[in-house]
Symmetry: C2
Subunit: 214 residues, 2 copies
DNA sequence: ACCTGAACACCGTTCAAGT
DNA sequence: ACCTGAACACCGTTCAAGT
């Protein structure tokens, strides 16, 4: 099977999925494909172009806008579809943020999102503010700085727990409350999907209210 | 002047401010300090620890919570103070996101923010959702994926502009509208500070409404 | 003309040798 | 005991040599 841009991209995405983007190097990718490193440069100008192309693979997995519903439902669905793609390829958000300018595929996605606001009756100005306010949430970034329950796993003795509670009383109160809520549920930690939708709906509802007021 | 952790951190922050975090290497940092690379390892265990310490320098620049006002004003001020610190050191958001777990200083900041919601009358559950919904905005991340006007500068001929308009009609409409709005203002492009505050207030207003409804 | 190995200019960090 | 140069194991990419 000869090398092709498609095969290079597929292997790169798979490697990043498996090892994270830090584990992706031209040399490792070549080895994965059973090829000398320089062979990759026939299909990709350099690593930056490879990263851009990988982003476009993920963006290509986002569903097109659903027809036959109101703007809010359609946008909600599409953002959740984008979130699904990013959850399958968690390296994407980091790579996108590190890139200097967006790829044409990302621009096309943004263009389509702007169109959905416009079709929903939003003025140009409000659409502009809305796009900024949605920010990277448009693409399904959950933009969590950290998972508050990840650090408070079973591998922590009572002594350090007591120290934590002293240093960060409010975090502790919050974690305890969450954990108790979920005593009956399997596993611990908060429901990321719920939190994402909570924030998304808060945003969409607020924007709708601003539109109706104008 | 002997090398100290303080001096190493100061030089590292200055180097990242000037060259971006990609331009920061242990070797360059050592050269900047007129020191052999290995000398740094007396004050910092490794590069990861250096990055964590640099983040803490920036977090240390965030104002403490203002007393004597309502929760909303106090939180608004503090978030804008955090945004100021991040604007002075634009590499911080990227570094924070690349770190596996938050530093104690970041945890302390989050703890204090949770405390401000609680003092404002938010239930534990709503505070939890609020922290997630605010996400990295709590720290002043503007989380723009790109600046829509940056790519449409003067260095673009009419032909490529027409192509862009065909491919991305909605983006074009938006950029044209923004540019016209600001014909009288010096410079082109949207007001990032306004957009940030717009999104912040949308969030805070929405959260307040949810609190009052409960 | 095409492919590719060696080489270049980097990187973070280890480790042993020198003081 | 402390400091540090050389070395190791990487990296993306250039370039000339080999076919």
């Amino acid at each position: 099977m000869p090398l092709s841009k498609e095969r290079v991209l597929g292997a790169a995405v798979a490697l990043a999925d498996a090892q994270g983007v830090e584990g992706l190097s031209m040399r490792k990718l070549a080895q994965e494909l059973g090829v000398v490193p320089m062979a990759l440069y026939k299909h990709v100008a350099n690593k930056d172009e490879l990263l851009d192309a990988m982003v476009d693979v993920v963006v290509g997995e986002i569903d097109p806008p659903a027809g036959g519903t109101d703007w809010k439902t359609a946008m909600r669905r599409r953002v959740l579809s984008a979130r699904g793609a990013l959850l399958r390829h968690p390296w994407t958000s980091r790579v996108m943020e590190s890139r200097a300018s967006p790829t044409p595929a990302v621009l096309a996605y943004m263009d389509s999102m702007i169109g959905m606001f416009r079709a929903g009756g939003f003025s140009i100005d409000l659409t502009h503010h809305a796009m900024h306010a949605m920010g990277s949430r448009l693409l399904g970034f959950s933009q969590e700085l950290f998972d508050e329950t990840a650090d408070v796993g079973p591998g922590m003795d009572a002594e350090t727990l007591r120290e934590l509670a002293g240093a960060f009383p409010h975090i502790t109160e919050l974690v305890v409350a969450i954990t108790h809520d979920q005593a009956s549920v399997v596993g611990v930690g908060c429901d990321d999907q719920f939190e994402f939708e909570f924030a998304l709906d808060l945003m969409l509802d607020g924007l709708e209210r601003l539109r109706d007021r104008a």
